[in-house]
Symmetry: C2
Subunit: 208 residues, 2 copies
């Protein structure tokens, strides 16, 4: 085989190993928190070697930042923002999609909390680099919900003059607060109750 044809295979392997470490790191950190997850446990979890790990990430912090930038922002897009595009009425979409996210998530995961919220609570006040990246992901989410609410006004589903930014922040806050409450009370039924309240608030701005 000519030497130059080997390069894509190596690149592919490199990327595969990197993704496996990202995913294994995410799962360990989700279960134990960033401080609680050791590099050794992450290495064991994703079946790589110490050399393999440090070839891709200089420190556990570098891995954590890559998880925020790549995995958490993708989760916000894939689980929350992209599905909203399928709804003609964005207000209905916000409520229905939230219900779907909860229904699709096993109880054991719900009790672990929202991975984004967990990292925000644990890392924001003690690490500026985490704080900046986590703020970006959180803002991406609020911005995305706000633009759906603006679409709801344009399409005539929502009253003009509704405080869109405040409502978007309230919706994301309730999602994160519901996870915190479900975790505190060890009770996944919290979600249906909080969703009911948010539905009511959105209803008060609805034209239908």
């Amino acid at each position: 085989m000519p030497k130059r044809s080997k390069k894509p295979v190596k690149t592919r392997d490199f990327q595969r190993t990197r993704q496996r470490i990202l995913q294994g790191g995410f799962e360990e950190i989700f279960r134990r928190g960033f401080h609680g997850a050791s590099v050794n446990a992450i290495i064991a979890h994703c079946e790589t070697t110490k050399g393999g790990f440090f070839h891709h990430f200089a420190t556990k912090e570098e891995l954590g930042l890559a998880i925020v930038d790549e995995l958490l922002s993708a989760m916000v897009r894939e689980r929350w923002l992209n599905p909203l595009e399928q709804f003609e009425n964005p207000l209905e979409g916000i409520v229905q999609n939230w219900k779907r996210v909860i229904a699709d998530t096993p109880d054991a995961y719900i009790i672990l909390g929202c991975p984004l919220n967990n990292l925000i609570q644990e890392m924001t006040h003690c690490d500026e680099r985490f704080a900046a990246r986590l703020k970006q992901v959180f803002s991406l989410w609020v911005d995305g919900v706000e633009s759906q609410l603006a679409k709801a006004v344009t399409r005539g589903y929502m009253r003009k003059g509704a405080p869109l930014r405040q409502l978007a922040e309230f919706i994301v806050m309730s999602h994160e607060g519901a996870f915190a409450t479900a975790k505190a009370l060890n009770d996944p039924r919290v979600f249906a109750r909080i969703q009911g309240m948010v539905h009511e608030v959105l209803g008060s701005y609805s034209t239908k």
Copy 2:
């Protein structure tokens, strides 16, 4: 001095040292998280010795559990529940007292998050003893708000048939979610915006 008179002094000193370690431990854990706060840092913070620390608490976990049982439950009572007793209209009390709590808390502390929420997010999924104690403190808060809402119904400020438990959970959820959001966005103005939304929800059940 007769020997038996020394005992109360010793007991007083013992209690003082214990309180100092509890308070110093609280502050270190509030700043760095439970995993991030080392016993050495706690010892330095509260100006005790290693011997003094371990005389009172066998492990950092024992200290953490005592902080939850003693300090966090006292904070819920003193900052949230007891002040509500002063209001004739409990709905007004919930909104006004929440505003006062935020106004009294320095911005730097607000960005550190709610100490109860921080510990819930960090510890609940990895330590059953913390999970049980934190659930007790969270439930104490929800129970207290619910009994204020019941009082609001009895006194004629709130519509009969309002879902009191759901509303109480929603109010505490919003408080914790607002802290999480303010922390995520590094913006204390989040509180006024979230409070506005909660005020609106309470207003929809008000008779006035």
